[in-house]
Homo-oligomer: 355 residues x 2
DNA sequence: ATGAAAGCGCTAACAA
DNA sequence: TTGTTAGCGCTTTCAT
C-alpha cells in the first residue's frame, strides 16, 4: 500500500531483483554492452518485459552525459520552409535514435538566445540553428563553449567557426533576376520581411546571410543589366501586402518583383489582384521557395525552389556525425536551388526594352 | 590540467564554493525557495553570474521528477494544420516555461507508439497527441499508466478517459455539404486520405474521429437532401489527384466534392484543372482548413476554417493545468469552425435541381 | 538561516 | 562473467 499513489516506476533495480542478478548485470543485459551470459541476458529481459520496465532516459543522460536529443531553433514552424526543414531534421534524427526539441525564435535575437539557453540546460547533444542574425556570433558561441556541436542551416554567421548547410542563394537570385531583366524590366523590387532598421541602402550589411546573398545576387544581375534595383527590407510580416502596393503604384512603381520567400510572394500576389494588376501582363513576379499554390494559380509563379527537407536532413546528419566525434574544420555545404519556370514573367507593360 | 579537455561544466558546487556557502544554500539562493539571508543570496547570485553557472536541467529533473517539457505527437509537421497547432502549443508551453518535444507519427500506429515510448522515457511531464487511430486506446493508456497527463487534440478516442480539444467537425461538414445540396448537387464526394482498408461502406467505423464526424455530418446532410453520398477514404497522400480524377469522370461522376483537408483540396483543384473542368461552373469544391491559397485562386475556395493555433494552445493549456495538479473528469473542448464563403460553389452543370 | 547527507536511476570503474 | 561501489548535479529532508 505504501507505493500505491504514484505507483512507483519500475527501475532497473526491480528488474535486477526479479532476475536475481545485480543492477550492473541487469543494465548490461538490457543495454547490451559489457559481457553477460546468454542465459542470464534472457532471464533479465524476460523480467524486464514482465515488469513493463522502461529505462529512464533522464537517469541515463545523467550518468552518460548524452541525451540522445538534439535541439533545433527555427524562425517560425508555421513557415513552410522551416516546417519542411524540421521534418527533414526530424527524420534524420529519428533514424539515428535521436529526438528533436524544437523552438521558435520569431527571428528575434533575445528569443533565440533564451531558446538556446534552455536547450543547453536540457543537455541536448547538439544544436541546429537558423540564426536570427549574422551578428550574433557570441550568442551562438555559447553552444560550442558548452562543448556541444552546432550546425547552422539556411544561414551562415561570418566569423563563427561552425558547420552550415545553405542554398546557393546568390546564384538563385541572379537567375531569377535575369529572367526579369532579360524580359526587359528596368525597375525591379526585391522584397523581404527581415528587419533592417533605417531602411536598406546599397552597401548596407544585411543581418541574415541568405537574404544578404539574395540581395547581392539581385543587385549584381541588375547592375549587369543596367537596371534600377529597389531593395525593400523590413516589411512587417502582417503588412507585406501594403508594402507591395506601395512598390507597385505611384511615381517610381516597379514592373516586377522578386519575393524573398513564398509567404511574401503570396502577399504580392494579393496586392496585384487587389490593384487589378494582371500577372504577368502588368507585373512580373518571381519568388524563392516553391509553395504548393505557386503551380496552382493561373498563370503559375516562376520560382527558385530550395531542397528544404534535404537541407534539414543534411544539417542533422552533419550534427550527428559531429556528435559522434567527427573532427575536422567546419564546412559549409551549399545546395543548389532549382528554377521552376512557370508563367509569371513577361515583358513590362511599357515596352522600354524595345527600341 | 586535469579538467582541461572537456572544460568541466560549472556546477552548483563551484558556485557554492565561490560564495563560501554549502551546496544546499546555493541551491536555495538560486532556485529561490527555502529561506536564505538576503545578503547571502546576493553573494551566491554574483558568484553564479561570475562563473557563468547554468543549472543542469537534467539533474533537476532527476531529483524533482519533473522535466518542464511536454511532448507532442502530430501526424506530420509539414501539414499546415499540425504546424499551426504545434505553434499554438509551443507558444502556450513557452509562456509557462515549458519546452516542447515534437514527433511525427505519419498517422501510423507503430510509429506513434514508438514516439510515445521515447517521450515517456524522456520523462516529459505530459503529452499532446493527435492519435493516429481511435482504436488505439491501449497504446495511449501507456501515458496515463505512467502517471502523466495526456490531452488529445483534433481527435478523440472513445473509451479513453482523456481530455481532448477538437473542432465541431460534424456541424462543419453539415454546413459545407448543405451549401452543395442547396445549390442543387445530387451526387457529391467526400474525399479523405485516412486509411480505411477494404474501402468505406456506409456504417463502417472510421478510425480517426475528426474524419468520422465529418463523414457523419456529410452523410446526414446528404440524406436530408436525398442526395447520393460518395465517401472515398484511403486516397494515397501522393496520389490524391488520381483519385480525384476518377471521382470526377466516367459513369458515376460527382458534380461536387468535399475535401477533408487543404492538402486534399489542392489535389482536387489540380485534377479539375488538368481535366479542363472549371470551378464552380463544372464542379463545386469545398474543403476543411483555410489554406493560404484558398483565397488566392480565382474564384476562391469556400472553406470551413478551424482555429488551429487556438486548438494547439488550448490543448497545451489544459495539459499544463493537469500537470499543475488540476483534477476533475476529463472533458472534451469543442471549438467552432468558421465558414468562409468564397466562390467555389454553384449549381451543377446539368441543372437537375431546376424543374 | 544554514549545513550535512541521502537519494533520484542509471552507467562505469574496479574487484572478484 | 558478475558484483560492488562510486558518482552524474541537483533537491530535499533533517539536524543544527
Amino acid at each position: 500500500m505504501d507505493r500505491a499513489v504514484g505507483r512507483r516506476e519500475v527501475t532497473i533495480r526491480d528488474v535486477a531483483a526479479a532476475a536475481q542478478v545485480s543492477k550492473a548485470t541487469a543494465a548490461r543485459a538490457l543495454g547490451d554492452y559489457g559481457a553477460v551470459r546468454g542465459e542470464v541476458r534472457e532471464r533479465v529481459r524476460r523480467a524486464a518485459a514482465q515488469l513493463g520496465y522502461r529505462p529512464n532516459a533522464v537517469a541515463r543522460t545523467m550518468s552518460t552525459g548524452r541525451s540522445q536529443t538534439i535541439g533545433m531553433v527555427v524562425g517560425d514552424i508555421q513557415n513552410p520552409f522551416f516546417a519542411q526543414a524540421a521534418r527533414g531534421a526530424s527524420d534524420a534524427a529519428d533514424a539515428a535514435g535521436y529526438e528533436l526539441i524544437l523552438s521558435n525564435s520569431d527571428e528575434a535575437g533575445a528569443t533565440e538566445t533564451k531558446a538556446i539557453g534552455v536547450q543547453l540546460d536540457k543537455r541536448v547533444d547538439g544544436l541546429l540553428i537558423a540564426p536570427a542574425s549574422s551578428s550574433r556570433a557570441d550568442a551562438l558561441r555559447a553552444v560550442t563553449d558548452a562543448g556541444r556541436p552546432l550546425v547552422l542551416f539556411d544561414r551562415t554567421v561570418p566569423g563563427l567557426e561552425a558547420d552550415a548547410v545553405v542554398a546557393d542563394n546568390r546564384r538563385g537570385a541572379i537567375e531569377l533576376t535575369r529572367l526579369l531583366t532579360d524580359a526587359g524590366h528596368r525597375r525591379i523590387a526585391f522584397l523581404s520581411t527581415i528587419e533592417h532598421p533605417g531602411g536598406y541602402r546599397r552597401g548596407d550589411i544585411i543581418s541574415i546571410s541568405s537574404v544578404a546573398d539574395r540581395v547581392a545576387g539581385f543587385e549584381h544581375a541588375m547592375r549587369d543589366a543596367g537596371a534600377d534595383a529597389v531593395v525593400r527590407l523590413g516589411a512587417p510580416r502582417d503588412d507585406v501586402e501594403q508594402v507591395a502596393v506601395e512598390l507597385l503604384t505611384g511615381e517610381g512603381a516597379v514592373t516586377a518583383v522578386v519575393a524573398s520567400d513564398s509567404l511574401i510572394a503570396l502577399d504580392v500576389y494579393r496586392a496585384c489582384r487587389d490593384l487589378g494588376l494582371r500577372i504577368p501582363r502588368d507585373v512580373s513576379l518571381v519568388a524563392f521557395d516553391d509553395a504548393d499554390w505557386a503551380g496552382l494559380v493561373e498563370p503559375g509563379i516562376t520560382v527558385m525552389s530550395q531542397p528544404m527537407h534535404a537541407i534539414g536532413a543534411e544539417a542533422a546528419g552533419i550534427l550527428l556525425s559531429r556528435i559522434g566525434g567527427a573532427g575536422g574544420r567546419a564546412r559549409v555545404r551549399v545546395f543548389d536551388q532549382e528554377l521552376i519556370l512557370r508563367g509569371s514573367v513577361a515583358p513590362p507593360p511599357e515596352p522600354s526594352g524595345r527600341p
